[in-house]
């Protein structure tokens, strides 16, 4: 767990809600006067979770459970799970059985992006709001939610601005540093984080340019399946120009809220319209958007970051890879188990990829 969060924790007076997936509208927690905390597991060796989740399943889910079993999430008052994939459903069931978090809710997120999907998602969100309001004794208020949405949007805009300082041709901040700033937002209170970002944007904009990586790349996937991937990428002279990750663009991209009388419906619409996760029924629009970005941003290669045993992304990557190969756009799939155990293998693979790209530049 981040040491900075340990310092903040004693000062958080609101109940803390753990969440996992980017289809969790954290603005709702903010509006309910709850403190959101993103559960990311840890790169520590898994010792407790193997008794409940076997080795050949998602190492991220295993790590989250392992940390929970070790009591590292005992500070949480609530945990919101999503029906992201079968393993996340299993994690929800296990958490309910073995971890004593006072409030647990499984947020059902549709796979299909349609009006029916939106209605279904809005219903799921409303049920969550009702249960949380009842459990924590807080009253849900649309005006509060609108205010929270606006804080969230401003936060995202600032993160996008900061990312442009990292992705442009005369970068002022490394992607590694940017990623750390993004992750800080997983636990720092909303208003405090917003102030921090405002200062950072001002400070970074005045920095001297840093040496840009020679090879402009796009990365795609869920979480970084090896904690050293980003630093190895920069060491190999790559510049991350777009990060289609659950902890990247898909988290901080600005949403389009069409607010009417029912802001929860607006949230459902906005979240389902965001660039899709591999779990959605049809990801072709997302693939096409990535191809457009590759063309517009002078991207020379794509790194597909796969979590070991993740079926959802394995199948989606096969489709995306086929499209990239046909163009052809050099691409590389790298797989990790959420630890640093295969860092040297990853280093070699990325160095080969760098050598392949160097012969084309």
């Amino acid at each position: 767990m981040d040491s900075e969060f340990n310092e903040i924790l004693p000062h958080i007076e609101k109940p803390i809600v753990g969440w996992f997936c980017v289809y969790t509208p954290t603005e709702i927690f903010h509006a309910l006067n709850l403190h959101p905390y993103r559960i990311c597991g840890d790169n520590e060796k898994i010792t407790e979770a193997s008794a409940y989740l076997p080795t050949p399943v998602c190492p991220y889910a295993r790590s989250c459970l392992d940390q929970a079993l070790k009591g590292r999430y005992d500070f949480l008052d609530a945990v919101i799970f999503n029906t992201s994939c079968i393993i996340m459903n299993a994690l929800h069931n296990l958490w309910k059985s073995y971890i004593k978090t006072p409030f647990i809710y499984l947020l059902d997120v549709p796979h299909i992006r349609s009006q029916t999907g939106e209605d279904f998602y809005a219903y799921s969100l409303k049920t969550m709001v009702d249960r949380m309001s009842h459990f924590f004794g807080v009253k849900f208020n649309s005006e509060n939610l609108l205010r929270s949405i606006s804080i969230q949007q401003e936060t995202r805009q600032l993160l996008n601005q900061l990312f442009s300082f990292c992705a442009n041709k005369t970068p002022q901040i490394s992607y590694d540093e940017f990623q750390t700033i993004v992750e800080n937002g997983f636990y720092i209170p909303g208003e405090q984080y917003l102030d921090k970002l405002k200062q950072l944007v001002k400070e970074v904009s005045q920095r001297k340019p840093i040496k840009p990586g020679k090879k402009r790349i796009l990365i795609t996937g869920a979480h970084c399946s090896n904690p050293e991937i980003i630093s190895i990428l920069e060491e190999m002279d790559f510049q991350v120009v777009y990060d289609d990750l659950c902890i990247g663009k898909r988290y901080y991209e600005t949403r389009e809220y069409i607010t009417g009388p029912d802001p929860i419906k607006a949230i459902a619409k906005a979240y389902l319209a965001q660039s899709s996760c591999a779990r959605t029924e049809d990801t072709s629009d997302k693939h096409n958007r990535l191809l457009e970005i590759i063309e517009n941003e002078d991207i020379v290669g794509v790194v597909l970051i796969l979590m070991k045993f993740c079926c959802t992304y394995t199948y989606d990557f096969a489709i995306l890879k086929k499209k990239l190969d046909s163009l052809p756009i050099p691409n590389l799939v790298i797989e990790g188990d959420y630890t640093t155990s295969n860092s040297e293998q990853i280093r070699t693979r990325l160095q080969v990829f760098s050598e392949i790209l160097a012969s084309k530049l």
Partner: protein, 265 residues
């Protein structure tokens, strides 16, 4: 013998099992090489390699113009001017020996890889095994231990096989148990060895198919010395595989070639 004053270039490939050092001359001729065990001590392997080069060819470090490091220990070679991946170096080495090479199968001690080259010799794609020992030299070593035979006997044993025994497990640990079961069921060692070769070949061909087969296919790495494995791969792929006289040094040779080329640039 090399002519006096002729420039020398070298490549050092520190692999998981062995450390290879190859010297070439300015006119691109192989001058000599050494192969020593790596064990867990890179410094010792480096020192032993240099001793052999000194005693066999009377060449010391000072005589060499440029040295490139490769292999998983590439960052531990203090005198290397550059570190290139073993895939890059195997490509260079294979093209030096076979200018028409388009696909390289390298089976080393701890990993196996397949590299696809463009017509001009540049790498376009590659596949490497994961953290697993299946389809590597270590797999064969484990099987030799289980069968109480020397690895060097495997080729002859497989040649005497009359009925291949299928080894269905690709995991080294499970395959070991399977081999033990086959022994207790009374199967001949020769037939089991032949099955082991086929199992490793199937694993490699699965990787090759992810890239497609383009001739010329060249095989490098220590396992290429075992004709039984080479033959099993040829049978599955349905094409000839070129194996250099000393397949273990292809990576270090490629590093030496690159050491020379990079000085020319």
């Amino acid at each position: 013998m090399r002519e006096k004053q002729e420039k020398l270039f070298a490549g050092m490939d520190i692999g998981s099992s062995t450390t290879k050092f190859t010297l070439i001359s300015g006119n691109n001729r192989v001058v000599g090489h050494s192969i020593v065990n790596t064990y867990a001590n890179h410094e010792k392997a480096i020192a032993e390699s240099l001793e052999i080069i000194k005693s066999s060819y009377n060449i010391s470090l000072e005589d060499i113009t440029n040295i490139v490091g490769t292999g998983y220990g590439r960052n531990n070679i203090p005198f290397a001017s550059r570190q290139m991946t073993e895939l890059f170096c195997h490509s260079k080495g294979a093209r030096y020996l076979y200018p028409g090479a388009r696909l390289i199968i390298d089976i080393g001690g701890q990993d196996s890889k397949v590299i696809k080259l463009e017509q001009n010799g540049n790498m376009i794609d590659f596949v490497m095994n994961e953290k697993c020992a299946a389809g590597t030299g270590k797999f064969l070593e484990a099987m030799a231990r289980t069968l109480d035979r020397e690895l060097t006997q495997f080729e002859d044993l497989a040649g005497k096989s009359t009925k291949k025994v299928s080894i269905s497990n690709i995991c080294t640990v499970f395959a070991e148990s399977e081999v033990i079961s086959r022994i207790s069921q009374g199967y001949r060692i020769e037939d089991i060895v032949s099955g082991i070769h086929e199992s490793i070949a199937e694993r490699i061909c699965g990787m090759v198919r992810r890239l497609s087969v383009i001739p010329d296919v060249v095989m490098s790495g220590g396992v290429a010395k075992n004709k039984g494995v080479v033959k099993a791969i040829e049978d599955i792929l349905g094409c000839t595989i070129f194996v250099p006289g000393e397949p273990q040094i292809v990576g270090s040779l490629g590093a030496a070639v690159y050491a020379r080329e990079s000085m020319e640039k």
